[in-house]
């Protein structure tokens, strides 16, 4: 920590916790990157806890929680000297995002027990939930910033009351950032009167360890993602099966878990590649770089990404990437894509991925330059670079409509 640096509060709906140790690891990375330049960092993790009960019972549960909350959130030492408090946000199961937004603000107010967030600079992740909670609980004169990461933002903005709330949030924020081009396009199209306010800020990636490794024959494939429909692991398995028919030494490791896992395991068996596919399940985030370094290639077949952090992490770990044109990664790898690997279109035909793999295999390592890609990405997404973006934003006038780097 730096005594002359700002006192910052980070308010977030996602932060690693014992139940889901990888959720929100990018927020912890942001804290880890920025904290050394701050005098104090308070992290408020507003953790959504859904309660399925009748309205009458919910009132009693809410009343009990109002008594409990102010006395039940002791500080937890966290990344880089920051102090973490976890606030359970009790909510009924609802798809009403404005109602959720209200509950985030209300429960944070209860946890603060009549006080306001002490920090003069507040940075929230996900404007509609944590951002609204930060604005409603900020001390007078505090500057509130927010970063949008949510891949489901389009669904939120399709709801009229939530869209109106988002508009108000954009009005009140000192600075508003997105992590990738797809989010910028969506927000600018929905709120053209705020288009000039939208800035880019990156998720920090740890380049401090690892490095470019000796090029391998691209046989050990790795995918790191939740096993959900949007990630198109079924598509990846089908393409992998075709490639493996050509090269029987190929293997595929799937890191991550999700409700589609049983169906995907069945698909791997049906495609006769089960013995070559390793379903690792969820792993601790700090083990990911080591896992990447044990593989030759990261394959990312997602339908839609706001940023594509895992793709940059793979380049940081020194392996090439085979990645779908799903939005975020094109922005994240801009200028370094050819050095880092190969893109393929989001298409249901596995031949599209197969062709891209064949093309990459044909030009790697001679036609790629991972060291150059790594250096370029570190300059944009390394801890120092991202910390500088945040500190510049917090200390100066609101950044508008341009890269903060």
């Amino acid at each position: 920590m730096t005594p002359e640096g700002p006192h910052v509060a980070v308010v977030t709906p996602w932060y690693p916790e014992p139940q889901v140790p990888f959720r929100g690891s990018f927020v912890r990375a942001m804290v880890e990157a920025t904290a050394p330049g701050c005098s104090q960092v308070d992290v408020w993790h507003l953790n959504l806890w859904t309660v399925v009960r009748t309205a009458e019972r919910l009132e009693k549960t809410w009343a009990a929680q109002r008594l409990l909350l102010p006395r039940s959130v002791p500080p937890i030492p966290s990344a880089a000297g920051s102090v973490l408090r976890r606030v359970p946000v009790l909510a009924p199961p609802t798809e009403d995002w404005r109602e959720k937004s209200d509950l985030f603000a209300e429960w944070l107010a209860v946890a603060l027990d009549g006080a306001r967030l002490a920090a003069p600079v507040i940075h929230a992740h996900v404007p509609l939930t944590a951002g609204w909670a930060a604005l409603e609980n900020a001390a007078p004169g505090a500057k509130v910033y927010a970063t949008e990461h949510a891949s489901f933002l389009a669904d939120i903005l399709a709801q009229g009351p939530a869209r109106d709330r988002y508009d108000e949030i954009l009005d009140r924020l000192e600075g508003y950032f997105v992590v990738g081009e797809p989010l910028r396009d969506l927000v600018a199209a929905t709120f053209p009167h705020h288009a000039d306010k939208i800035g880019f800020i990156a998720n920090p990636i740890d380049f401090r360890s690892g490095g470019v490794r000796a090029p391998g024959p691209l046989r050990r494939w790795l995918a790191v993602s939740s096993l959900t429909e949007r990630k198109r692991i079924d598509y990846l398995l089908r393409a992998f099966a075709v490639c493996r028919a050509e090269d029987p030494d190929l293997t595929l490791t799937l890191v991550g878990d999700g409700k589609e896992r049983p169906a995907l395991e069945a698909l791997a068996a049906e495609l006769a590649v089960a013995e070559a596919v390793d379903f690792r399940g969820s792993v601790a985030p700090e083990t990911i770089p080591g896992t990447m370094a044990e593989h030759d290639l990261l394959v990312h077949a997602s339908r839609h990404e706001t940023f594509g952090m895992v793709v940059v992490e793979a380049v940081a770990a020194g392996i090439p990437v085979l990645v779908s044109r799903c939005g975020g990664p094109e922005h994240a790898l801009a200028g370094s894509a050819a050095d880092a690997g190969e893109y393929f279109d989001v298409d249901d035909d596995p031949a599209v991925l197969v062709k891209a793999w064949q093309a990459l295999r044909g030009r790697h390592p001679g036609g790629t330059d991972l060291a150059r890609a790594r250096a370029a990405l570190e300059a944009r997404y390394g801890y120092e670079a991202v910390a500088a973006q945040h500190h510049r934003a917090w200390s100066g006038p609101a950044e508008t409509g341009r890269e903060t780097s």
């Binding site: 014992p18 889901v20 806890w49 030492p77």
Partner: protein
């Protein structure tokens, strides 16, 4: 300290296992009240954790006469009538049999909730620290918490057990 970790629904497996182990490592006496699920057969908890497994709990009494006269009997008769009987059975189910089943299920849920609540309350007086490790724990004790906190203001309460900055007794 003696910690009571209440997790009556017990779906936050990782949190329950990680946090109770950490509390034991820190030298606390840790007692977990949890619903037994198959998961725990393959993922044993730390042996230092004292576990009070909750069973299925009681079931509401079901009148056999009501079941026969208003549920099974009419269904059997209407099923035998075929086509028009099927439609009549659907109507009968919707208007008569299903509401009876729902009321029975509500009574069973209330009995089970009372059973779980009592299991936690039986242990809370011996505890210095109450961890409400899931939303179900707050809901379970919602009626008792105001009185409990008024009676025992020194009772430490948290929603998890982690490496807190101040951990009395660790």
């Amino acid at each position: 300290m003696r910690i009571l970790y209440a997790a009556p629904i017990s779906k936050r497996y990782n949190a329950m296992a990680t946090e109770t182990r950490l509390a034991a490592e820190h030298g606390h006496e840790i007692c977990l009240v949890a619903q037994h699920r198959n998961y725990w057969e393959a993922h044993p908890l730390d042996p230092r954790v004292e576990v009070h497994w909750l069973g299925a709990g009681p079931k509401a009494r079901r009148s056999r006469l009501v079941t026969l006269a208003l549920c099974r009997g009419p269904r059997a008769v209407l099923r035998r009538l075929g086509g028009p009987g099927e439609r009549a059975m659907q109507t009968w189910n919707r208007r008569v049999a299903d509401p009876i089943e729902r009321r029975r299920q509500d009574r069973t849920n209330a009995l089970r909730q009372a059973y779980r609540r009592q299991a936690v309350l039986d242990l809370v007086d011996a505890a210095d620290w109450l961890v409400l490790g899931e939303p179900g724990a707050i809901d379970l004790l919602a009626d008792e918490l105001p009185g409990l906190l008024a009676r025992r203001p020194e009772l430490r309460t948290t929603y998890s057990y982690e490496d807190f900055a101040e951990d009395p007794g660790a």
